[in-house]
Symmetry: C2
Subunit: 332 residues, 2 copies
């Protein structure tokens, strides 16, 4: 295993030390592994928090700041944070208007966020609403999931619901737009290589030199099928087709994210985006906004995922609103 780490046990703690050093505008609670906004949540603003296993950077810690999250909780690599951690983040972020929990659909995350919401309500009276993302069309039920997995739409949801909260909407309204984003978003991923979890020290799964995994999960969970390596133009079809088969994207503008899994260079991600854009145009899908890069990763996995989100003028306006985080920044 070749990694820039001190020891497999200390990866998360050591990385958070670096986050704190690199981002004086953020605060890091090292004992609870919480990254939160240095200036705090503005009084009366709905707070957004999210979290999950580490290894998907910049998700979620890289999306803390104006216009997105108020706090992010880091579990160990590919491991849900505990209810105690989430409860603490809920208290830290609450500014009197309630807290939205944004949870990717993995059994451990859903259970621990639920427990934290109950604890936070009983302990401090904080009102919590929860949105669970489940946008991955690849499979129903998976290694750590009942139902569909939550993947790339989580990034778009954090941006759009974050803008709604920044506008001063109340908790019910922010939760409603968040749920709407999830319902209108779909994703599909693929891997050329496995990732390697530091604590395991070896690749999560074996993938022969001449094969790739279509529909892979962000922790290396099995996808739909293994196929022979193929040109990018074919791979693009293997991502676009199942998404378009699942939901109609021709009725309005679409936000398109071509996301890297962590180990694929940007020159390849742009190349893939070009192939995807061509297929979308042929299918009558109008690209309203696009995003190409590493936003929800799987450590050092080579591969990519595609997320499409049906948008309308309101969603595009929330997407375009200013955002100031380490991982996404525009308009300020």
């Amino acid at each position: 295993m070749k990694k820039l780490i001190n020891s497999p046990d200390a990866v998360l703690a050591d990385s958070l030390i670096g986050v704190a050093a690199a981002h004086p505008e953020l605060r890091v609670d090292h004992s609870n592994r919480i990254i939160y906004r240095g200036e705090g949540t503005k009084t009366g603003k709905v707070a957004l928090i999210s979290g999950g296993g580490s290894g998907h950077e910049p998700l979620h810690g890289g999306f803390v700041g104006f216009g997105m999250l108020d706090a992010a909780i880091s579990g160990e690599v590919f491991t849900s944070p505990t209810p105690d951690q989430i409860q603490e983040a809920t208290k830290v972020a609450d500014a009197g208007a309630g807290v939205l929990h944004i949870v990717k659909n993995y059994t451990g995350d859903v259970m621990n966020f639920d427990m934290a919401a109950e604890l936070a309500g009983a302990d401090t009276g904080v009102t919590v609403e929860t949105v669970v993302t489940n946008d991955d069309v690849a499979v129903t039920d998976s290694t750590w999931t009942a139902g569909r997995r939550g993947v790339g739409v989580t990034v778009l949801l954090e941006k759009i619901a974050g803008a709604a909260a920044e506008e001063g909407r109340d908790l019910a309204a922010v939760a409603a737009i968040a749920r709407s984003v999830n319902e209108n978003g779909r994703s599909m991923g693929m891997a050329l290589t496995s990732c390697t979890v530091p604590a395991a020290g070896k690749p999560t799964f074996d993938l022969p030199d001449n094969e790739m995994e279509i529909g892979v999960g962000i922790h290396g969970e099995p996808g739909r099928r293994r196929v022979a390596l193929a040109p990018a133009s074919d791979i693009a079809g293997m991502l676009v087709d199942p998404i378009l088969a699942d939901l109609d994207f021709t009725s309005g503008p679409t936000i398109v994210m071509l996301n890297g899994m962590g180990g694929s260079p940007l020159i390849e991600l742009y190349l893939m985006y070009g192939e995807v854009a061509r297929l979308l145009e042929a299918a009558g899908v109008t690209v309203g906004r696009s995003l190409v890069g590493n936003y929800i990763t799987s450590l050092d996995m080579a591969g990519c995922s595609l997320t499409l989100l049906r948008a309308d003028d309101e969603v595009l306006s929330l997407w375009d609103a200013p955002v100031n985080t380490a991982g996404l920044r525009w308009g300020m």
Copy 2:
């Protein structure tokens, strides 16, 4: 070779199609492989152009936009663009106040930019100034370089000189600040793995599972030495020490970039930054600004590089000035 490509010959052309599709705010001259500002260079503003071999994304195309470059020329992967391409970019970018060529110190790049500057002057009377970056302390002379290699300081220079040009400074002044940035910047890199050039189809160099290359170049050129894998804290010392031995960074604030080579995930890059920040503090170096992520890469190489730049109030102010590019964006 596992890559998201159609064919090794078409990687650059196909990737530029994706860049054009993803960035309607940019223009792409596909035949000359030039990315330039969609709104053009403002009349009377000094134009900044840079370029080199592809495979270092987001450098340089990702730095075209307000506050940085006016145009970027892409050579094939790890291959200099031709004088004709550079001449064309010089003409496209010129807005009457002259053009600064920003060139990393590799023999082919230096020669081709020189020829292009002569051609542009003779052909259209455009005034060109050139700055050559040579910040890599690892080695003197290398596979494709006489003298020191130009690496990470190029990113910082494009930002800082770009801000100076945006302020309306003249060509001599913009060139002067660019040269000053190069003189005050130093870098050192390392690799855990080789990269794989698509046209070659196999790793550029062999690196055993238990070794790493200290002082590697951004094309996989040999560094100072190969050593056994070591903890991140030791690796940080192998980057910090040779830089501090080469130049004194204790006299004022320092801009610090911890750059990924392309294949190392962000959780590791932040971890490395934490180790570097600790060593800099112990050495009496004050971090004025910091940047962590993939900015000048080597395709899919795992590893990182460190760049330090001595700054003063003027340089910090130019660094903080608004920038709006795909690869760096703040303040707007």
